[in-house]
Symmetry: D2
Subunit: 338 residues, 4 copies
């Protein structure tokens, strides 16, 4: 940590800061420049608030040197992690993980139909929503436990792990009873109570990036889950909010190499929510794989125009099938299998 | 609702769209241009997903005409609402509501000390955090029920209503037992389960704007609460995330006149969270009042450098007192009392 | 164009709007709803300001139906355009265009050395800066005409077209004398006088997207150039400004499929400026090609640590060579050659 | 400047960095932590690119300590500057500067009519556009020199200084011949050639903040002008681009106290361009004055619905007059005169 003193900070102010830092167990190293003095402080104090120093007389700013997350960081673990999500599917290895299925589960018949189709095209994890976060209180909110039951039945029938979202701390155990992977949605990325609760149930977690979260905040959210003892976190980039309106969100493809530099956790891309329209899903899916993603999450619906939620961004099964074929060449060009 | 057809959409495509709209109970009015056809559709169908139409052959786009919120809208209620928060304090009238207090409640002694000071300076509602959302899992998370008890005691002692945040559906009843105003924090603005739960407990709600929420999404979050029967919602602008880093967030002062155009709900400003540093709090507080806000929420701490949370943005009691004096002239210039 | 009237607009207000529109040569089609009236107006009046209507009594909003650009639009020309930049290089066809070279031209020896290396690796267009936009007035601003002379010499020696930036209307003819492709930088994307001037000199133009420009504004900037008679415009996505700071800008990979939907103009990606660091350039370059870009612009420097500008984002020639090899597989997977 | 070495950087790497810094004339002060070494480097080298150090083996990052601007900084000059714009008007003192007038100059009659009205209401500087930056190449671009002549005539007739925009280096002398204050528009804030050219003509400059410029970039643009010898720069906050669409831009009212902390230059607010609609102009104008702005720039048009440019954001003269009256109380509450 570096403490930058204001221009013309007095000797007493500098000494006072050094004394405070020493009390906190830091070693201090002042550096006197012509106009400015800075103080290097040695010690790892991630969890201590530096307010007391920041607000001292003569202090201009504090520059942290260490990253605020530990368990999620590459400083802790150099090699990339893999997450075993069951049914023989590993997220984070050479084989790409493809989570596919409809946005919301509408009926058993519909879900099983789509599930079979996406499996045939090569998807290896089923996705679907039983609890749906909806911007409007008047929109369809999901089948809830009945939806979970349907997903589980489809997963067991097809030998595929299932992934679904939890929105409420009160539902964490219920969702964990059915799901192989528990999803934290973008709007709940900083629902800290939910992160803790999900971290305690002992299932792999798919952590979507918040709509306007920095990569550091995202890794801090992973840290919340991991600090409860659950290290099986899969990151999912799903687009960030920017000023551009031609897509619903802006797919931050850079997040793939950036997180791979900062954390050992695997990362997948969700082009469906990023673009908001099926038209751009294939291009973004290819971009994500080419950039090094460990997998994809793609919405597929056999009748997008009758979907109860997010139809416009769902691929029809035949388009999904074509995309999976096109992705093979890209996966292979970056040393991955599909 | 206006359906815009693609250039060169065929007669059959246009007819098919009209038939679909008619099934949904709309009256249709096609307008044939030289290159484009648009179809006006009459009927109020806010809660119906338009996907089925949007994905029909030949359709380019749909332009909604009605706003998606009802209970919160000025279309429903022209005159501005007031919210009675108890102890004789009304938010939304001629007298400004000033919520003040420390970020987190640290001890009974500390809270009561600050509470007395802010009351003397003219604050009329006490604020403080018992449950604290923290970016790091290793940071202080609040005193929880003990904090609520302390706030209640201070409120009763000083005859002031108290406002505090709830973060978890499981704590909604507990918080409602103690608080006069329940706060939904920025990170939970789209925690829809929490919005519904809070809407059911029958207390006034202070709804902070999400960090990257549009004003429309914010009003939809208010609609969630109101759709559960609770119409006592107070909006709070607390800064939005932008590319600028010289302040923690960008205080969107325009949100004050914009919401006053769109909704009857009262709105206050929170300059402390917006700026992230006490230095800019007075200027932003004055700006909010001048722009027409119904009140302010300001963090005050008698020892910012020893605060367990958000010290750098807290005003010392003497600075708060000075600010309150300066605000009087501005309040009076815009026809308000302080 | 659709005019949306306010709730409760009077018959007289509606009639007055219809009369005004009729004066402007529109045919009007009012649609009377229960609470709202909207008026469809037929006619193509892109260049007419609608203020006079927007500010009439009773008018709530105007929704345009037509896009504001014409020459750049796919409505005008369905098939994708190609741009012949000389020396047998076509931008926009099956073969990817790779613009490579150092950020700034520092000396003849340095530039020719890098030029030879990038050619060997498969680049087909040389890039380099003779006039450099620098945030600080104290930074190196480029060799100016001497830089142009060096580039031309290298291009002629190696049989490659050259691309360089112009920053000032007064230099447009000078740059055109030397360059095969004239670059408009991100900061000048809405320097309308420069767009017009460059549109008049009759050379292919590489138009970088502005740092915070929407895709629509970008296509309007292309329209400026094209409206002067120059249809040889190549778009270049180079990252947009967002709140995320782990990369210098956010590479908006979606801009590739979006522009391909809206315009016939070719588009390339610039991962160097988007990321601001060489580490992420390969991942973003692959993403751009996978998403369907017509080419890339990549900074290459044989000694990034001694570069006078933008060294941190420059690839060393050996890394560029390795990237070009990796890109071959991706290009081939999307039906392109490299 | 602080150089942060990577975890586990070797002794040789550290020594090499120290040697390089010493060559550059810095004194070095290494601080050895348990996992990290940082090197403090003393010396003011703002204009030297630190790439050579940043790219050395073992270096993770460089943290600058000094701000990159000098002439514009408060480190250079503590007391706030004032700018004498002629006709007895001083920008930056106790009396607020109010720039008012139509967006574009349309005719002598129209301009003089509006000029008289704004003068009567208390405006002290005339504004108007002779050269207009327009998003569409098909829109009205201004009367050019004829517009300048009209403004000058009005200014001389009414004894008021005039302010107008220059967009092209070739027009700088022409504009300087007529105008008392030369405006650099938001889109040209980083048109570095234009900044230099305007800095050389010796007239006060009104420098609008770029649409997506940080405050630091804005002050660097001021530094460009000042580095040419012109210290009479007035900053103008006019809204920044964010994700929010209910206003055209987001008026960053915080920029007022932030710039007052960082620079001695005066700052005014432009609520017209920020909001994009006249409805929100009064609230934002009051907010700016309450936050401490040195003045305002407001568009006024006697017939907004017939304005050739930006009509929807123009106040009618009677609304401007009412606003000026309301502003008096606010100005007085913050110790200013109007």
């Amino acid at each position: 940590m570096i403490i930058i003193m204001k221009d013309g900070a007095s000797k007493q102010e500098i000494t006072a800061v050094e004394e405070k830092l020493t009390q906190f167990g830091f070693q201090t190293h002042p550096i006197y420049g012509e106009t400015k003095t800075v103080i290097g402080a040695i010690g790892d104090k991630r969890q201590i608030s530096m307010n007391e120093v920041l607000l001292m007389s003569g202090v201009e700013n504090i520059v942290p040197i260490m990253r605020p997350y530990k368990l999620a960081s590459k400083e802790l673990k150099q090699e990339r992690s893999t997450v075993d999500v069951g049914h023989g599917v590993i997220v984070g290895g050479d084989k790409l993980a493809v989570f596919a299925g409809p946005c919301a589960i509408e009926s058993e018949e519909q879900f099983i139909k789509v599930a079979k189709l996406v499996k045939e095209s090569g998807a290896n994890i089923l996705r679907g929503g039983a609890f749906k976060p909806r911007t409007s209180p008047y929109a369809f909110g999901g089948l809830e436990e009945e939806g979970l039951r349907i997903m589980r039945k489809a997963g067991d029938m097809l030998g595929m792990p299932i992934c679904t979202e939890v929105m409420d701390t009160r539902d964490a155990l219920l969702v964990a009873k059915y799901a192989d992977v528990i999803q934290i949605g973008a709007r709940n990325m900083q629902n800290f109570k939910l992160l803790r609760e999900v971290g305690r149930v002992g299932k792999p977690v798919l952590l979507k990036r918040g709509l306007a979260s920095t990569i550091e905040e995202w890794l801090m959210a992973a840290e919340y889950i991991m600090s409860e003892g659950d290290s099986d976190v899969i990151l999912c980039e799903r687009g960030i909010r920017t000023y551009e309106t031609s897509t619903r969100n802006t797919f931050d493809v850079s997040a793939i190499p950036v997180t791979q530099e900062l954390t050992h956790l695997p990362i997948i891309g969700d082009p469906s929510h990023a673009s908001g329209t099926y038209k751009y899903v294939p291009a973004l899916a290819k971009a994500a794989v080419a950039a090094g993603a460990d997998g994809l999450m793609i919405e597929v619906h056999d009748c997008p125009e009758c979907a109860s939620s997010d139809g416009p961004q769902s691929l029809k099964p035949e388009k999904f099938d074509m995309l999976m074929k096109e992705l093979k060449g890209i996966a292979s060009a970056v040393g991955k299998e599909l």
